[in-house]
């Protein structure tokens, strides 16, 4: 119990610092929302007087002092009000995040879990078969790992969406057929179909890391005395591999998935941008480009909270599966 209480205090302090930084950082960017919006509109010509008047009234520089804005921000946070987006006016930040979050969690979450399972299983196998032909395959996966996301995404798009139009180029569902999100089999099919290329991108670029880490841990675990004992006892190979080897070798990877699930929400920003996928990462880029304070704060807050929550859960789980962590904390 003391373990949990201590962690909670540390997390509370982290949260306060993170939220304050969320507030401060966007305001250190040069420019203000009104200027940027006008600059954007004027690239297209035709800014009507009425629109200028609206910009002046709605998005001009706030008059309140920074300190006052900070207090207001906390007040709003406690009421669950994240403010209104400038960039996507008149949508509220909560509704924007609400509609982007499921896409990020759905796609990136599923892809990360898949990647984890595939990577761990292959790593276990590769570690088990150490010193055989399998070792020659391992370096190729690290090569995949080193490829940048956006590059993999663009290559996939080029071959499977442009040259051969097998998969869609953009979007989370077929926006040519469906007027809005809906609950139907056809829509679900469309979502899955649109998710395939982005998911493959994530798996290709992240599976190597899991695989290599797992394989190396597996190799060192297999050298432990208790494994030798198990072999001496004449246990079945499969039992030794899974129960004696893999279970212990997985510990560092479990700590890793906690952190990486946290980053799921930040949505592999680049991947979402390349595929025009309607997730949190893309929302964040749009917010930063438009100096949209409320939106940036909201998105950063969600990311911060998710990472903290994921790390907290990992801490708890880790305490459960590895008694040493509880003792030393």
């Amino acid at each position: 119990m003391r373990y949990i209480a201590r962690r909670l205090v540390i997390y509370a302090i982290t949260l306060w610092a993170a939220i304050s930084l969320n507030f401060l950082l966007p305001r250190l960017l040069p420019g203000n929302p009104a200027d940027i919006m006008i600059a954007k509109l004027s690239r297209r010509g035709d800014v009507s007087d009425a629109q200028l008047e609206s910009i002046r009234r709605l998005f001009g520089n706030p008059d309140a002092s920074l300190w006052q804005q900070y207090l207001d921000y906390w007040g709003q946070l406690f009421q669950g009000d994240l403010g209104t987006s400038v960039q996507f006016y008149p949508s509220s930040v909560s509704s924007l995040i609400g509609s982007a979050l499921p896409w990020s969690i759905g796609l990136v979450g599923v892809a990360t879990v898949l990647s984890f399972i595939i990577g761990i299983s292959l790593g276990m196998f590769a570690g088990w078969k150490r010193g055989t032909w399998v070792d020659h395959i391992v370096p190729s996966t690290t090569l995949l790992q080193s490829l940048p996301y956006f590059w993999v995404a663009m290559v996939l798009i080029y071959f499977f969406a442009r040259e051969n139009e097998w998969f869609p180029r953009t979007d989370g569902y077929d926006i040519w057929t469906f007027n809005n999100t809906e609950w139907s089999w056809a829509f679900a099919g469309s979502v899955i179909y649109h998710g395939i290329l982005p998911a493959i991108t994530i798996i290709i670029s992240s599976v190597g890391g899991w695989l290599l880490g797992m394989r190396n841990m597996m190799v060192s675990t297999m050298g432990e005395d208790y494994v030798v004992t198990a072999e001496a006892k004449g246990l079945k190979k499969g039992r030794i591999m899974r129960t004696y080897g893999a279970r212990n070798a997985m510990l560092p990877s479990i700590a890793g998935i906690g952190v990486s699930l946290g980053f799921v929400v930040s949505g592999f920003v680049v991947m979402e941008q390349v595929f025009s996928y309607p997730g949190i990462g893309k929302l964040m880029i749009e917010g930063v480009e438009g100096n949209d304070y409320a939106l940036m704060q909201g998105v950063f807050l969600v990311i911060t909270l998710t990472v903290l929550a994921a790390m907290f859960i990992t801490d708890l789980v880790y305490g459960l599966i590895d008694p040493r962590a509880r003792q030393n904390a």
């Binding site: 040069p30 007087d49 442009r162 180029r169």
Partner: protein, 570 residues
């Protein structure tokens, strides 16, 4: 080359503006003179098209999630609302020099001193909720808190079809703003709103235009033809506006036939047009170097010396910039900021009509030497030991501007001036120009929406449209150069107070004399404005032969006119 071809056709097309068969009825200009529609051989373009329910897919530049608003006062209004759903009294074709096209207004007339504008409205128009369009709506649209300009001192309706707007001062120059960019909204809905009209999303807009909203989501919106439209139901009954995040994706979608109409920059249009996709380029907006020119208002740097600006203007090789940075797609620019081809009549004979297209290094150096600069050992001119050094910023990622800046760096060095090309973020660009904290910036000037350069003189060079360095410009002020010249200000007043062309021309001549010498903005080229359209399934697009409206899908007002003129090919 593009320019010379365009010039002839723009003139020809202008006379055909009236030819839009459905809209021509009752179209008249300010003097009440009936427009002759018989000289429009190609006027049948709109009528040729057949009714079609094939869905026309448009990208008007919206990124996802798209802004859920059809509020015409909102800066993020969906493009289709301006022209497709809400209409103005007249449509001013910025691509041609003809008379404005009658929409909700049947005729208008100024009184002799420009303080009264009498408008006759179209009869028999209904809002898409069935209510009739009346003079109350017009008066509300001109006098509400948001759109109503402060200079309107009175608005009355002497009878059921006439509205008289009165002003304290002559407002001839606001004709476009009043008739061409004030959208008519229904008083019976907007007057009784419970919330602030600016903040209202207006998701079920009640307008008079050819389309009504069917659905909207974060990714796309659909509109359907308004069966009771006063100009007749549009031939293309279903239109979908999609959100796309970047040009690369949009180009792929265009080439695979998923998008039918888009206005965006594609540096290599050939692979697209080879697929049979229609293409038109209508350069409109000048690309210039903003110079923070006015030391009196706090500008710093060598560009505050007019001799340096003049030398830079001469040192630039615009042909090279056009070919290398803008892949030859831009138009040639006039130092008077009149759009060549469209506004030729306003260019004074005493100033050069075109900016020099090739570098003239000797003349540039002569100007510097006359101003007291001497060539230093390193080949750079200096005065009192202080060499000419300026930073030219451009927004990172606007590759055409970045490349142009690099070329200018080389060309200026050849003439003996150090210009350092630097890239900045979008935010720094927006803040820098607004606060005057810059030396040189590659930037754009908004081309005028009517065939007259006045708006650029007033908004971009008028002393009333600027603030000292350090004070950000108000929204609606565009004088980033901090230019402040009494003669220009005086002549802007003169031009604003008259409809007489000769008086106006004299005023413009005086202004042009000043600005071509002072060069608060150093003109580079006229930006390309490219439009791509599906000509296989649809007909009636604006073409170089029949440029009845500004073609890109994002054109405010224009897109409604174009949509209503389209039809299916079968």
């Amino acid at each position: 080359m593009i320019r010379t071809m365009g010039r002839k056709r723009v003139v020809a097309a202008a006379s055909m503006v009236a030819g839009l068969s459905l809209l021509v009825a009752g179209c008249s200009n300010g003097d009440g003179e009936e427009t002759d529609s018989t000289n429009s051989p190609d006027s049948s373009a709109a009528a040729e098209g057949a009714k079609t329910d094939r869905e026309l897919v448009v990208w008007a530049g919206a990124t996802k999630p798209i802004n859920q608003t059809f509020n015409p006062f909102s800066p993020q209004v969906q493009h289709v609302a301006l022209g497709g759903i809400y209409q103005t009294l007249y449509y001013y074709n910025k691509a041609g020099s003809g008379d404005p096209m009658s929409l909700l207004g049947e005729s208008f007339e100024w009184n002799d001193d420009g303080t009264e504008l009498t408008i006759t409205i179209r009869e028999g128009v209904t809002w898409n909720d069935g209510e009739p369009f009346t003079t109350d709506d017009v008066i509300y649209s001109f006098t509400n808190d948001i759109a109503g300009p402060a200079y309107i001192s009175g608005a009355e309706a002497p009878d059921d079809t006439t509205v008289v707007l009165s002003f304290d001062e002559p407002q001839y120059t606001n004709e476009f703003s009043l008739l061409g960019s004030t959208y008519m909204v229904p008083a019976h809905i907007w007057e009784d709103l419970e919330e602030d009209p600016i903040e209202w999303g207006n998701l079920e807009p009640v307008g008079t235009g050819p389309y009504t909203v069917n659905s909207i989501s974060d990714e796309a919106l659909t509109v359907v033809a308004n069966p009771d439209y006063w100009g007749g139901e549009a031939n293309v009954t279903n239109v979908r506006y999609v959100g796309v995040d970047d040009n690369a994706a949009a180009q792929d979608l265009l080439m695979s036939g998923k998008i039918d109409w888009v206005g965006m920059f594609i540096p290599q249009p050939d692979p697209v047009t080879d697929l049979g996709i229609g293409y038109i380029n209508t350069p409109q907006d000048p690309t210039v170097m903003y110079t923070c020119s006015n030391a009196d208002l706090g500008c710093e740097g060598d560009q505050t010396d007019v001799a340096v600006r003049q030398a830079l203007n001469l040192a630039i090789d615009r042909t090279e910039i056009k070919d290398k940075a803008f892949v030859g797609l831009t138009g040639d620019v006039s130092p008077t900021f009149a759009l060549l081809g469209r506004d030729d009549k306003w260019i004074s004979p005493d100033v050069p009509a075109e900016s020099p297209q090739t570098a003239n290094i000797e003349e540039a150096q002569a100007i510097l030497e006359e101003a007291g600069y001497t060539m230093g050992d390193d080949g750079i001119y200096e005065k009192d030991g202080d060499p000419i050094e300026m930073t030219l910023s451009s927004v990172d990622g606007w590759t055409d501007y970045n490349n142009a800046a690099k070329l200018i760096e080389e060309q200026a060095a050849a003439a003996g001036m150090t210009v350092t090309a630097a890239t900045v973020s979008w935010n720094e660009f927006a803040e820098g120009r607004s606060a005057g904290d810059y030396e040189l910036i590659m930037g754009g000037v908004i081309g005028t929406s009517v065939p007259d350069p006045f708006q650029i003189y007033k908004d971009w060079m008028g002393g009333d449209s600027t603030t000292p360095v350090g004070t950000p410009l108000e929204p609606g002020f565009w004088n980033f150069s901090r230019y402040d010249n009494d003669i220009v200000d005086e002549q802007i007043e003169v031009a604003a107070g008259t409809l007489d062309e000769a008086t106006k021309m004299d005023a413009y001549a005086a202004i042009q004399e000043e600005i071509t010498r002072d060069l608060p903005y150093i003109p580079i080229v006229i930006n390309a404005t490219q439009t791509f359209y599906n000509q296989t399934d649809y007909t009636g697009w604006p073409t170089e032969d029949d440029l009845y409206a500004f073609p890109p899908a994002w054109g405010a007002g224009a897109s409604g006119v174009v949509l209503h003129s389209l039809g299916g090919t079968e």
